[in-house]
Symmetry: C2
Subunit: 247 residues, 2 copies
């Protein structure tokens, strides 16, 4: 659990939760249980996705993946226990049950797990795969940050738009990096997704088309949080940073 | 998820939660989210335990296990999504965060997942394995039923003793049935645990010694809920039923 959780990812989900919480006047500490829970769910999904029966990846972030460093049984159990730990850390503070609901719905069959199942199937739509596989948890990160700050429902709908747009931009850029070979910088095997016949955005829209779509997503994200004024500055920065990764 | 969840297990955990809730004057409906969540966690653990990298069981309750009926990736994801669904069903009703905490702690590294990891290791103590692997969730079932009924903390400590004793009795009887070959009645492969070199209570105490210990556990369980008077009758019946399974 420690090996995979503490190996230095980008921490995008925790950052989204904390920055959104702050944008609504909440303190970093208020978003921290959600931030930790999100990273635990994300990490468990990477551990399980890397298993031989799934994407069969021997490396993750430039290190042997969990099942290579230990063994398959340990990797399955580390992932399982990380999921439980995510809900434990959320409940430990006796926090808002809406946080548990957001995380569970985003992680489960209607979200992340369902998206991974679609990804393993043939003929599934790349947009639907990513909306569920990565989009659901990124959107939950933003919503959980807002909930932790006590944001009103009306504002929640707006940051949900931000979360969805940022999530989609992130995935398109990830696919672009995979195809362009810059994936090595991310500690991934370059071109592996594409070689495995995975559904990618460049395969659907081409490289230039994908870049244009990622840009449109970032514009939408920036617009969605315009109502936050100066307080939304860091959320807008974050959206633009995602785009800057595609070079 | 449906294939494994709705295949007719004993439903021991839901029954423990509901009966305990009723013993404290709660209605069945009040314990129902906890009951469903517990069965979802239990089912996911069976799906993952049956995987080739774990106990490698082709059959479960007389049917092909999940990864045989579908494939390994689907079985991993079905288990993952069932765990998320368990927390979703608990949070859906906006219920007491203590329920989430009980379930998460019992399911995670300190409980069920840690127990399974110990079971795969060599040299682990059989009592410690079962306290965590099966005992934690059975104890959580009883505690969650009591919490759902709004039982006072003092009573919670007493039903915890009941839950631990019942959990241990259940596991000892399960081991006895495995060794005596009656496991076929349970849809399991008889003698498989023992042949696999799994740590069992009969290996530690002998058959007669195991039976005596199971009886002592049931006596302890019955005593622990004596304070409930007539309202605890069904909890005492349940404890005695566990013993009656050993023949």
């Amino acid at each position: 659990m420690r090996y995979s959780l503490l190996d230095g990812g980008k921490r995008l989900r925790p950052i989204l939760a904390i920055r959104t919480c702050e944008a609504f006047g909440g303190a970093e500490a208020e978003a921290m249980p959600a931030a930790c829970a999100l990273e635990m769910i994300h990490t468990y999904s990477l551990i399980h996705d890397d298993l031989p029966a799934m994407d069969d990846d021997d490396f993750r972030r430039g290190k042997p993946s969990c099942h290579k460093a230990f063994d398959e049984a340990t990797a399955i159990l580390a992932g399982d226990a990380l999921q439980a730990a995510a809900f434990e850390v959320l409940a430990r503070r006796g926090s808002d049950p809406r946080l548990v609901l957001e995380l569970a719905a985003a992680a489960g069959a209607a979200g992340m797990c369902g998206g991974q199942q679609l990804d393993l199937a043939t003929g599934a739509d790349v947009r639907e795969i990513h909306r569920r596989k990565t989009g659901a948890l990124l959107t939950a990160a933003v919503r959980m940050g807002a909930i932790a700050a006590g944001a009103p429902d009306r504002a929640l709908a707006r940051v949900t738009r931000y979360g969805r747009a940022v999530g989609l931009a992130f995935q398109i850029v990830d696919d672009i990096l995979d195809v362009s070979g810059s994936a090595r910088d991310l500690g991934k095997t370059p071109g592996k997704d594409a070689r495995q016949g995975k559904k990618t955005f460049p395969a659907l829209y081409g490289m230039e088309g994908s870049r244009l779509r990622a840009e449109a997503c970032v514009r939408e994200a920036v617009t969605a949080v315009a109502f936050l004024g100066e307080r939304g500055a860091r959320l807008r920065e974050l959206a633009r940073w995602i785009l800057s990764r595609s070079g």
